[in-house]
């Protein structure tokens, strides 16, 4: 008689696995907040990771931000001109870039570039037992690998967002200047007139959240990567997909919260 291999699940295997994954992710994030405050502090590793996350992302971020600025300006001009409001173009672009497009575009690019690289690196370290080797040599691998990377993304994404905002606005200025002959000073006076303190602070806070998400998701996926080379690929892919998904959810939620504060 064949052995009965039916197992008991609380709900179904898939739902059980979803909730156990959620619990595991919660424990992983909780561990970060537990370990980040206590020594030893990995300053050198944080700086190294900041360089990897920030400096190495600059070329891609610059190009994308610049093109977004030009394209968005060119696409918006006809509609505004139709209502005789082409002079509002700098204000419109400033609000769009600083409030939404700058943080979102930067976070999505970083999720693809930085998140996948963190996921693949940690996944590969897990598969080749480098994380175990670190642990047996008296180093806390969570602190050295995870805390440093999450801090680096949390610090660097807001800086990259501000940089993207600037580059995007410069792209927009070139486009506006080519058509309306507006000076740089006039352009930026209009830009800052259109922006409020809430726009800037909310953009920074949102970027901190995006950075934390990118780092945490990349580290979680890499740390829990299945064994084998396929596991590394899955960790990298999973990091990008999950980080992008969470970024959109966070964008939506933060929009509701910011709008609550914006109400008169």
């Amino acid at each position: 008689m064949p052995e009965n291999t039916t197992k008991n699940y609380f709900i179904t295997p898939k739902i059980d696995s979803f909730f156990s994954g959620l619990a595991s992710a919660f424990r992983f994030v909780k561990r970060f907040f537990k370990e980040v405050w206590f020594p030893p502090y990995e300053f050198q590793e944080v700086v190294r990771q900041c360089y990897q996350v920030g400096y190495n992302s600059l070329p891609l971020i610059s190009l994308t931000g610049f093109i977004v600025g030009i394209v968005f300006t060119n696409q918006s001009r006809p509609s505004l001109s139709e209502f005789g409001a082409a002079s509002w173009l700098p204000a419109l672009i400033a609000i769009a870039i600083v409030r939404a497009m700058g943080p979102l575009v930067t976070a999505l690019i970083a999720a693809g570039k930085v998140g996948s690289s963190i996921g693949a690196e940690l996944g590969s370290m897990k598969v080749t037992e480098q994380i175990d080797a670190m642990e047996v040599s008296g180093t806390n691998p969570y602190k050295f690998l995870v805390v440093s990377r999450v801090l680096a993304t949390t610090f660097m994404i807001p800086i990259l967002v501000m940089y993207t905002d600037f580059v995007g606005l410069m792209g927009s200025f070139l486009s506006v200047n080519a058509n309306e002959k507006v000076s740089l000073t006039t352009f930026f006076i209009q830009v800052f007139d259109a922006l409020s303190f809430l726009d800037i602070i909310s953009s920074v806070l949102k970027s901190i959240l995006f950075g934390f998400t990118i780092g945490m998701v990349g580290c979680y996926k890499g740390w829990h990567s299945p064994k084998g080379t396929e596991g590394v690929g899955r960790a990298a892919n999973g990091s990008v997909v999950m980080a992008m998904f969470l970024i959109f959810i966070e964008e939506l939620l933060s929009l509701q919260i910011i709008n609550f504060f914006r109400m008169p």
Partner: protein
């Protein structure tokens, strides 16, 4: 009798329905090399991972240098780990660091008052011990399998451990390189006065490096003793087949 450095009693470990270790007992004495043999998947690596605290047992006790590993606090476990060298099957060298940085890593992390010159001296000393001084500034990806193994062993030696745990030290290497690694294991014992557990399924490695053999069969040690006692005079069919496979197949 020499003092015990590792004392394992009634060790059990399961992964789901897979009962890997079903009550393992093992003693390792100071200065001794014990070889743990067994087919793949019999829990040999699990055993030494429990010894170093990378895995926790379901039942039983593991006493290392007088300390019960499962009852240690993280800081105490870290202190104990510094006295244990663990050589991983795939060497586990950090890909993003040069050989020098790999070797310096345990020093930088654990001995804070060393100057750069002192660190370099320590690195050169262990590199010299494994005969790979020329690889100092190479990346792990530029090394051969045998060189990686040697550097992996050198990295564990840098903290001058009392106990060495070797996980499949000769796996995937050609016979000549295997012989070099076996010689290195013996040399490490003489130079650093270590006691070792060597996990392998290579009987040549077992014969050349081990004082005592322990063969894992169905989650317990089915045969223990010196090489001749275990393999030459064994009546146990599975132990004999292990011997026949390693030596008779190689002779053909």
């Amino acid at each position: 009798m020499e003092k015990k450095v590792i004392e394992i009693r009634g060790l059990k470990k399961s992964f789901g329905d897979n009962h890997v270790l079903r009550g393992v007992d093992l003693d390792l004495y100071k200065g001794e090399n014990v070889v743990v043999l067994g087919k793949s998947g019999t829990g040999k690596s699990v055993l030494i991972k429990i010894v170093v605290g990378l895995l926790t047992q379901d039942e039983g006790s593991v006493i290392v240098l007088g300390k019960d590993v499962a009852k240690l606090k993280p800081r105490e476990l870290n202190e104990l780990r510094l006295k244990i060298g663990f050589s991983f099957q795939a060497s586990a060298l950090y890909d993003s660091m040069t050989v020098k940085e790999n070797l310096e890593f345990p020093l930088v992390r654990n001995i804070k008052n060393l100057t750069r010159a002192e660190r370099t001296k320590e690195v050169e000393e262990v590199l010299d011990a494994v005969g790979l001084m020329q690889t100092l500034n190479q990346m792990p990806s530029e090394l051969s399998g045998g060189q990686r193994k040697r550097i992996g062993i050198a990295r564990t030696l840098i903290l001058k451990p009392e106990i060495m745990l070797y996980d499949e030290p000769t796996a995937g290497l050609d016979p000549i390189t295997c012989m070099d690694i076996n010689n290195l294991i013996n040399q490490v014992r003489e130079t650093y006065n270590t006691s070792s557990i060597i996990i392998t399924h290579d009987l040549t490695c077992a014969r050349d490096t081990g004082d005592r053999m322990a063969v894992l069969l169905d989650g317990v040690f089915g045969a223990t003793g010196n090489f001749e006692e275990v393999f030459v005079g064994s009546d146990e069919e599975r132990v004999k087949s292990f011997y026949d496979y390693n030596f008779i197949t190689n002779e053909k």
